[in-house]
């Protein structure tokens, strides 16, 4: 079994070009386009497609258009210049490594079409609006929602194709926005988003090849954590937190904040990742500004003795780099007696009796050894 993701499903987001390729293969009309990785590529692509083209940065970050990532040009030379301007820059946190050079379509109307999962009912839901575009979510009244129960048939295109692809690809989301009506009457996908379910990677090996999950986005340390199967979010505070399970980890952060402290991170080592306490500790202690460590374990499936032994092993190799770091433990649940004894024997520390006590001590520890003014 693989590690848990708390309340999230790990999504694999495709770029516009990847999404459109999958849709086009299934018969959805998309503008003629080519991927370009250099300005000269872009010039050549524009030359093939036609003079008036759109040059679009291939990033998965939202708000790409507003960030200047989409440029309409009237010649192949200008397409090269646009590519030159976009390639190597960053949109959001994401570097622009490729641009999509596409035929500019003459549009008479913009619609919206998406298929996703409704979290309340757990059913597939088809969303449609006659008025698409970047502000579509602000026009909730114009959007129709249709539950798609098993066996339910949708007869119109491209909705039927989208639904079939949704199931075939193990998608979490397929969205065409806008789905444009051209002045010559074609219905064409101007932009498309697809998010796949990372949990379904095992049955789509070719499709997922080279695709990273959203778990691997973020800072260098967050990516390093993702590489060993840990989910880290850096928060910038001074109290490093190691806890098991997303729920307990969030509750630990909440308790620190409620008591006036500043958590340095969210790092979950629940599920099968409970054996990775040592590398997890190394990652959280490498964050700048950390001046206190709180270890909060509540073992159910994850055994406290295994997690605690990992923390202590990690600490023994790292402690010389952090000579004055206060460590506070709160340990209960599966394996707690062995775990508490390990802390006493190997670290000569007494685990706290309650989580409240451990949180208060961790905050006091950060204040006394603090890197923050």
């Amino acid at each position: 079994m693989r590690r848990g993701n708390g309340t999230r499903v790990a999504a694999v987001k495709l770029t516009e070009h990847q999404a459109k390729t999958l849709l086009a293969e299934r018969g959805v009309l998309t503008p003629a386009g080519r991927l370009a990785r250099s300005p000269s590529d872009a010039v050549a692509a524009a030359g093939e497609i036609g003079e008036r083209v759109v040059v679009k940065a291939q990033v998965r970050t939202g708000g790409r258009g507003n960030a200047g990532g989409i440029i309409i040009v009237d010649s192949a030379r200008e397409a090269g210049e646009a590519a030159d301007r976009l390639l190597g820059t960053r949109i959001g946190d994401e570097p622009v490594g490729a641009v999509l050079v596409e035929q500019a379509e003459e549009i008479s109307a913009e619609h919206y079409l998406a298929v996703t999962i409704d979290p309340s009912s757990g059913q597939t839901m088809l969303l449609r609006s006659a008025r698409g575009g970047v502000e579509v979510e602000t026009m909730a009244d114009s959007i129709t929602r249709e539950f798609v129960e098993p066996g339910h048939l949708v007869h119109d295109e491209p909705a039927a194709t989208l639904l079939a692809a949704f199931i075939e690809l193990d998608a979490l989301l397929i969205e065409i926005n806008p789905l444009a009506k051209t002045t010559d009457g074609r219905l064409i996908a101007i932009d498309a988003k697809i998010e796949l379910d990372d949990a379904a990677r095992f049955r789509h090996v070719d499709l997922f090849e080279g695709l990273a999950s959203t778990e691997s986005e973020g800072t260098d340390r967050e990516r390093a954590a993702a590489d060993i199967g840990l989910r880290l979010v850096e928060l910038g505070g001074d109290i490093a937190v190691l806890a098991n399970g997303a729920g307990l980890t969030m509750a630990t952060m909440d308790a620190i904040v409620a008591a006036g402290g500043r958590p340095a991170n969210f790092l979950e080592i629940g599920g099968d990742a409970y054996t990775k306490a040592a590398p997890a500790l190394e990652i959280v202690l490498s964050q700048p500004g950390v001046s206190s460590l709180l270890v909060n374990f509540c073992g159910a499936f994850a055994r406290c003795d295994v997690m605690t032994a990992g923390v202590i092993d990690g600490w023994e190799t790292l402690r010389s780099d952090h000579p004055n770091l206060p460590i506070n433990f709160s340990i209960s649940g599966t394996g707690q007696d062995e775990a508490r004894q390990l802390v006493r024997n190997r670290l000569n520390l007494e685990p706290h009796n309650t989580m409240a006590e451990a949180v208060a001590a961790a905050i006091a520890g950060a204040e006394s050894s603090g890197a923050f003014p």
Binding site: S120, G122, E137, P150, E175, A199, M250, I256, S332
Partner: protein
Amino acid sequence: MIIETEHRVIVQGITGAQGTYWTEQMQAYGTTIIGGVNPRKPGIEHLGVPVFASAVEAAETLGRIDVSVLFVPPAGALAAVGDAIEAGIRLVVVLTEFIPVHDTMTMIAMANECGCRIIGPNTAGTVTPGQTFVGFMPAFDDRIFRPGRIGVVSRSGSLGTLTALELTRAGYGQSAFVGIGGDPVSGTTTLEAVAALDTHRGTDAIVIIGEIGGRKEEDAAMAVAACSKPVVSFIAGAAAPVGTRMGHAGAIIEGTTGTHSSKKAALVEAGAIVVDVPWEIPGALAVCSIGPDRKHQTEEKSTVGDTT
């Protein structure tokens, strides 16, 4: 969804390391394990119970099976649930995490069609203190779980464990712990668990342990408003950074729901007390005039009324 000693339980995936370890714990606690399933090892005996090739074959030999619990890898979970449903089992506890969400949707649709309830996936299971546990909760530690009158519904196993610990420490035993699981799509929702505990005779008050993300707590508000018993809740994630949403569709469906403030507002509006840290739960129960078990006992014995 509250599993008692008389319920007959099988373990699908009983021979693996985790299946073996937790089956032993369940047996020692009092859960009535009558058999196991491993398609590759039919005919053997493991932990004192017979192992079958399928749940269907187990049912043919063993007769009535009330509950199945799955220690099965993600790729095999859908087929295993289908097998359990075909065997006529009406409660299936799916511990497996990282099941593709389309498989989860399929198994829930199959279960609904056959009158079967799924708890999970990605749940740590259920505990009926003093009687049974099904899954991997530290039920066997009486510093954490004790028989009593508080029903707990939790998305998280670790936070559910902490909650039981804080309740027990304050003198509140538990009537039932229902882990609904951490996945966005679940066979049993918070709403359904609250409704079940509302009609459960052994339960005096309900604790909802939620988390940011999704809309299970907002949806549960309807059951809380209709509930005849006091409801106390802790929602984890007040201090968490705001997560990313899935395209425009995510924003359209979720609207303003999914955040800590939206969940808290919905539950408070429905009449629940929402606390800021887990150890405030016992105090909130006291505010609802639900006293600890020890106090009940002392009051019964005492001739002098002290109701503080």
